[in-house]
Symmetry: C2
């Protein structure tokens, strides 16, 4: 019988602000980081991996929170925890003292998400299954019972969620075959970072089309004239058959967003992402009404399923971009997938950063096979960097994610990455004197 023996947390920071091209209107100089948890067990081959993605400063705070959230599970029986992860998640989420620090949002909530993800990673590894397959093994009732419905049932009752999953069992085998064969469409943000000159934008757009991508995304929101010029270049480069989305990264207030999108709508936008503050669900609804038929997309900063519920109830988004480490773990992501399906909204996950692609693909595949009514419009964000630091990097070819087959949830980093990029004592940071 294995027990959890330790929660090792590493403050991993990759020096992307010095090297990387990932700048947008809100995040000019991210150091892509992970507060990385390894749940060790008395079986030295059995380790559960999870992390919270951050963009640099404060990753130490996040790491402290992950350690605090994991603490309660040290000494506990792995069979018991993995056999009833729903109970473990509820125990953590409803810790009356920790709950004060959210509730259900921010550093403490993301920490809980990393811990519950690590338990799922443990469970899937013991089953020898990738996480998507471990989740697909569950019956509709088992999936529904993982979710905490306390604050969601006024919108979607768990009985209806179970019915929805049961309705989707028809044709499920064929949908899984299709995913095995075709994977799932990726889209790329690589051409569209702010700060590229026009020639580079043009070249990268053409490369994206040649690489098989049917959707590219441009960052906007810094300067409207600049946005218009860049969109014209991109549209000319990709032609009319490739879709273009734009991402404002919360740069606008509600009225500014409406004005700006009206100026840009003529470029035939697949969606406008994060037009304003992620907590402003009513503002998103106002924007969505005003800019129709351009769809609003949001989700990478959506703190919990209670906010997602309202966003969908009020019609604030037609594309929900769940993020793998923003919320309280797999069960809350499942809740958001179910809410989106209930409202007929497409889930097109946020990814990029470091490791987010590796994590979120599992939920995207589960959604496409077992939850979404129509997998055709689903697409997963893809950014081509830092994958070499993960133990099981994604397999993206011809503009598509292909089903991962390594056991676990995708959140394991390579030991070499830890040795080099642990902050401030890893080889890289020690060499640049970060600890000084």
């Amino acid at each position: 019988m294995a027990i959890v023996t330790a929660a090792e947390v590493v403050d991993l920071r990759f020096p992307t602000s010095a090297e990387l091209d990932g700048s947008d209107a809100m995040n000019p100089d991210p150091d892509y980081s992970a507060a990385y948890l390894r749940l060790r067990t008395s079986d030295s081959d059995l380790v559960g991996h999870g992390f919270v993605f951050t963009i640099g400063r404060g990753n130490d705070v996040q790491a402290t929170a992950v350690a605090t959230a994991a603490e309660r599970f040290i000494g506990r029986d792995v069979d018991g925890l993995c056999g009833a992860i729903g109970d473990a998640a509820r125990e953590l989420a409803w810790d009356s003292q920790l709950r004060w620090l959210g509730p259900d949002k921010g550093v403490m909530h993301m920490a809980a998400g990393a811990v519950i993800s690590a338990l799922w990673d443990l469970r899937a590894r013991r089953q020898g299954l990738p996480l998507w397959a471990a989740l697909l093994e569950l019956e509709p009732k088992e999936l529904v019972d993982l979710v905490d419905w306390t604050y969601l049932r006024d919108d979607l009752h768990p009985d209806r969620a179970r019915e929805l999953l049961e309705e989707r069992t028809a044709g499920r085998a064929a949908r899984l075959d299709a995913r095995h064969r075709d994977g799932l469409a990726a889209y790329t943000t690589s051409p569209g970072w702010l700060g590229y000159d026009d020639a580079k934008l043009d070249r990268l757009c053409r490369e994206a089309v040649a690489g098989g991508f049917g959707l590219i995304k441009l960052k906007v929101g810094h300067d409207l004239d600049d946005d218009r010029r860049r969109l014209a270049i991109a549209r000319a480069a990709v032609g009319d058959d490739v879709a273009i989305a734009v991402d404002a990264n919360q740069r606008w207030g509600v009225d500014e967003a409406i004005d700006a999108v009206r100026e840009l709508a003529s470029f035939d936008l697949r969606w406008v992402e994060e037009p304003t503050h992620p907590d402003d669900v009513a503002g998103h609804a106002t924007i969505a009404r005003a800019i129709d038929p351009v769809p609003v997309a949001t989700g990478e900063h959506l703190a919990n399923a209670v906010l997602a519920k309202q966003l969908l109830q009020l019609g604030g988004a037609r594309v929900l971009q769940v993020d793998a480490t923003r919320v309280g773990g797999p069960h809350e992501i499942l809740a958001m997938l179910l809410l989106a399906a209930h409202h007929g909204v497409d889930v097109c996950p946020h990814a990029g950063g470091v490791g987010l692609c590796e994590l979120v693909q599992h939920y995207a595949f589960v959604n496409a096979v077992a939850i979404a009514a129509d997998p055709a419009p689903l697409v997963v964000e893809y950014v081509d960097h830092l994958h070499e630091h993960l133990a099981a990097p994604i397999d993206v070819r011809d503009g598509r994610y292909h089903l991962p087959d390594a056991p676990g949830g995708g959140g394991a980093f390579r030991d070499e990455a830890c040795a080099t990029f642990a902050f401030p004592d890893g080889r890289h940071w020690a060499s640049v004197g970060a600890g000084a």
Copy 2:
């Protein structure tokens, strides 16, 4: 010229779970705690105090976050910081890397609030003024310019906020005289904790009336039959002239809240507090419509002014209960006071815990004198414990808060409290072996 030399953060925990009667349906065993910041300066007599209130576990995470948020101000000129606190607050809130950890919510946001509160404490101490007086010295335009309007101006434009403050300057001197003379009404939650037997509830209700309180509050939400019985006892004890509010501490979902309040409405409730999850602004609006004329109150867990804006826009609360340490500091509390005034909603601050009464009274007085249209219905929560640990405890007599006159914002703890209740090395915790 003084500069900021250090940010000392103490993890202060008071062992209230063992001694105190403060239990409710959601928080059965709080250890009232403070992540307590002292901003030291090169002038040893000049220290700025601020803290985040928590209820125990995780206070170390909060303390780490406060230290991280304060770091940027070490080495900076005190004159420069205190002369432009609005700029300092924006610099911290818009740190592109730290912002990822919220944005504007949870541990990192509350940490920013403690730091900006400490800067205001510094400024008021240098002026020799209590914080309320330092804030009242500002012109309407100066007050408005402290607020970050980025995501609020679709509801309340800063020009309109300035006009609102200018309209209130008429009669301001008389309103200040009235506060000097009469203070501000307090209400007490002391009789109403769950777990008291009926005789104790009856006795404490009568004592509250004798003590001059015009409003008492009972915790509900654990068991409806129990709630009904306790409300009947309380109503009989206080008579028809003393108001009774109830507080569900987020215990219910939306539909449950509606059903429960309809069962309890016959007891003539002043308000129903936290009927459901604090992020569910649309849910609050649904509840508010369904239980009208019983008012909905909420705020102690309202993470930011963007959520407050929507709550008011959607009609989700008729009483806004701002909390002194839940949000990003004095400027965000000011924003919430202005939004509430704009919507004609009463602000009746949350207090209790440890030190929250000492902090929040300043904002309540500013609101009553300079912002609210009608101070008559305003009332501030009061709980009679742990005040002895503050350097300048509140002065509550005859059911009323009286204007504090000690310089600063009220957030300084006594050195003795730090020596005894620092966790885990203070005298108390060392003696009970907390660090083991």
